[in-house]
């Protein structure tokens, strides 16, 4: 079987995969990083969003072998030394989740979306989160959370 080597949340990892193994399955089943969710089979829901070299992508829509040599960050890699990332904190403060299933993907997409921009309009945020579906919240508090998170991140 082929092997793949990448950096996940700052640690170098190597694993055997099949050609067809999706990045999300490598993360969940081999590395047991189950914070990254699978919510659909059509690459539409965004629950599987992770960062590939700092950019949000859908890990169900990429082969594990395509991530050779890449730096991957999952939701588990956002908090530093037990302190939540400002975007995670903003989701908590603004009640930006209900069941929480979409949340890891929302947070990862949001962090990528607001990079370099601390002031986003509601409209920009709603359009920016096109690739993430939430079945619970009605999005209202998610938008509030992303706005607050962007401000807390200060354009970083």
């Amino acid at each position: 079987m082929p092997t793949v080597t990448m950096t996940v949340n700052g640690k170098a990892v190597t694993g055997e995969v099949e050609g067809r193994t999706l990045l999300v399955h490598f993360l969940r089943d081999k590395l047991h990083l189950t914070g990254t969710h699978v919510g659909c089979d059509t690459a539409q829901c965004g629950a599987c969003t992770v960062h590939l070299n700092g950019k949000a992508i859908k890990s169900c829509n990429m082969l594990a072998l395509q991530a050779e040599g890449a730096e991957i960050t999952t939701i588990e890699g956002l908090a530093q030394n037990g302190t939540l990332h400002p975007m995670q904190e903003a989701f908590r403060d603004n009640h930006g989740l209900q069941c929480g299933f979409c949340t890891p993907g929302m947070v990862m997409a949001a962090v990528s979306l607001v990079k370099g921009k601390s002031n986003l309009s509601d409209d920009e945020i709603r359009h920016g989160l096109d690739g993430n579906i939430c079945r619970c919240t009605g999005y209202h508090n998610i938008v509030k959370a992303v706005k607050a998170g962007a401000q807390a991140m200060g354009g970083k």
Partner: protein, 264 residues
């Protein structure tokens, strides 16, 4: 998804070799269309040849009087490129409307064009601007490249390396988005070029096409009103649960008018 052998060449020459050696090989770049297709088992390649590690396929350069975009350049890179925004703002705008945030960071221009989905955005820009598609074998004019639904002039194993877009005097793109798929229910690219007016329509028919009626109307008078007044025939246009052929026909002139108004 069925299993396959995976190859990750670092040069176009090696990619061509790999596809030549495969019994039923397929290229993958961003994979934003191909991976869902594989998961539905609509394709079962023996070998997947990943083009995303080939540096020579990436990047955006100002070249002559236009812009050359490497085939493996992502939609986000095109949308954010200062050179594209300056030279052909309508192209950057079009790239910013494709799919969603995550899809744009993986999907590539070469993949979009090679796949030639009848509702994809890029074919409208390529045809509307009269771009040239460069491959590892030759150059193909946009007017000869698109052959109808999911069909192009590419030969088996031929690799798109870049697309060259000549700078128009003015161009605009407007899209009526199908909100679930984010593809164009209809999208219209209008361009005023040295060689005349070009209008390319995506989403409305079995493949991207030029609208002679709109080109004639805008040729005399490049204004939104001129486009708005054109009655497009619904004959041969797509009809589905999202919109009838008549509805799409009406969208074509409406969007052409908006694209003309927005053209810069």
């Amino acid at each position: 998804m069925h299993n396959f052998a995976f190859h990750r060449p670092t040069s176009v020459a090696d990619a061509a070799k790999a596809i030549g050696a495969a019994s039923d090989g397929k290229f993958v770049a961003g994979g934003q269309t191909l991976l869902p297709t594989l998961r539905q088992r609509l394709a079962e390649p023996s070998d997947m040849i990943d083009l995303s590690a080939i540096a020579e396929l990436k990047g955006i350069k100002v070249e002559g009087d236009g812009i050359t975009i490497g085939a493996a350049t992502t939609h986000t890179e095109v949308a954010n490129s200062a050179d594209v925004k300056k030279t052909i703002p309508a192209l950057a705008h079009l790239a910013s409307l494709i799919g969603d945030h995550q899809v744009r960071q993986r999907g590539t221009i070469g993949g979009s064009i090679a796949n030639n989905d009848p509702a994809a955005d890029y074919p409208a820009a390529v045809l509307g601007l009269g771009a040239t598609i460069r491959t590892n074998k030759r150059e193909i004019k946009a007017d000869d490249f698109f052959k109808g639904m999911f069909e192009t002039d590419l030969a088996e194993g031929e690799i798109i390396t870049a697309v060259h877009f000549p700078k128009p005097e003015k161009a605009g793109y407007e899209k009526f988005r199908q909100p679930a798929s984010r593809f164009a229910l209809v999208g219209v690219f209008v361009a005023k070029t040295g060689g005349g007016i070009r209008v390319a329509v995506t989403g409305a028919g079995p493949g991207v096409f030029r609208s002679k009626e709109l080109e004639a109307a805008l040729g005399g008078n490049f204004t939104a009103d001129a486009a708005k007044g054109v009655k497009i025939s619904a004959n041969g246009l797509n009809g589905d649960l999202h919109g009838s052929p008549e509805y799409r026909a009406s969208l074509v002139s409406t969007l052409a008018a908006r694209a003309t108004a927005a053209a810069s």
